[in-house]
Amino acid sequence: MGFLEKQFQENVLTTKVDWLLNWCRLSSIWPMTFGLACCAIEMMAVGCAHHDIDRFGAGAFRASPRQADLMIVAGTVNFKMAERIKRLYDQMPSPKYVIAMGACATGGGPYYKFGYTVVKGVDRVVPVDVYVAGCPPRPEALLEGLMKLQEKIQNSSVIRRPARTA
């Protein structure tokens, strides 16, 4: 990496702090064990051997929000659950990411018009990083959503830029 390369002994690697931290984060996204409806079945399929989300380092489904980095909102969010989702999101340590999986979590889906208890998109409750389309999405679609999230993490920076002043 630049002029620092080959300046040290063997077994020393040089890199950027951003690259290293992002690489650590994106290679071990631990999702929360959290399914709301039929999308959760597809999420379980992603976790199983055939599709194997562990290839991306995201196979450790944690039973506690305090150990999780990623919340996959897999299914229909109703108002009773929305408050719990908000609380679970608040309990997750930063940096935290949210994938809205499927039509219901993205925008209400088939319940948009007549679902009196369905939240029209989980982004009204928690900030969403990646939306995965489908009803329910194929496991490949969720994996692509995860890869999109990894891209997003890769492009983030630990250095906080000063706030823009007018």
Binding site: Y116, T117, K120
Partner: protein, 172 residues
């Protein structure tokens, strides 16, 4: 027993609240406006006497209706002034079933609870209560079962209007 046999037996033992019976029929070929009636045959029962009726159906040795397979309500139309209570009774021993329908006015939707007769009615009545705004007098646990405790309105009523927001989350 088939429906006719059950109905005859109900009349023979003078089941309380029995008001009549309705069976499906073919449309009248002479009258084009008549579309007939589809679906199951049912007996019409006075809602105030439904628990007593269920008890008689349960305790009679020929009827022996020991299971409430379904207990729910229907809002037939916006301008209809009645709600329907639909009950499906099943006899496991006798291998027959019976559909019951009750009418209660929307303006005063109050009826006695059937929980002392069939404990399995508890959750069914709680659901009917929160969805249709029916008050079951004497229910041992009249909380909401599916909706949040502070939900306003009865969603399965035909004249239900969606809330604007719930706890700060927009519903539109």
């Amino acid at each position: 027993m088939d429906f006719q046999g059950i109905h005859d037996r109900l009349q023979a033992i003078q089941a309380p609240g029995l008001q009549g019976a309705d069976e499906p029929r073919e449309p009248d070929p002479e009258n084009k406006k008549d579309k007939g009636r589809f679906g199951d045959p049912f007996v019409l029962v006075d809602a105030k006497l439904l628990p007593a009726f269920l008890q008689v159906c349960r305790d009679d040795e020929r009827l022996n209706m020991d299971l409430v397979a379904d207990f729910t309500a229907t809002d037939p139309a916006k301008d209809d002034e009645n709600l329907w209570i639909n009950v499906q009774l099943l006899s496991i021993g006798q291998k027959h079933r019976l559909a019951i329908k009750c009418m209660i006015p929307k303006a005063n939707a109050v009826m006695p609870t059937s929980v002392p007769v069939h404990r399995s009615c508890q959750w069914h009545e709680r659901e009917a209560a929160e969805m249709y705004g029916i008050t079951f007098e004497g229910h041992p646990d009249p909380r909401h079962i599916l909706l949040p405790d502070d939900w306003v309105g009865f969603p399965m009523r035909k004249d239900y209007e969606f809330p604007e927001e719930y706890h700060g989350i927009s519903c539109k």
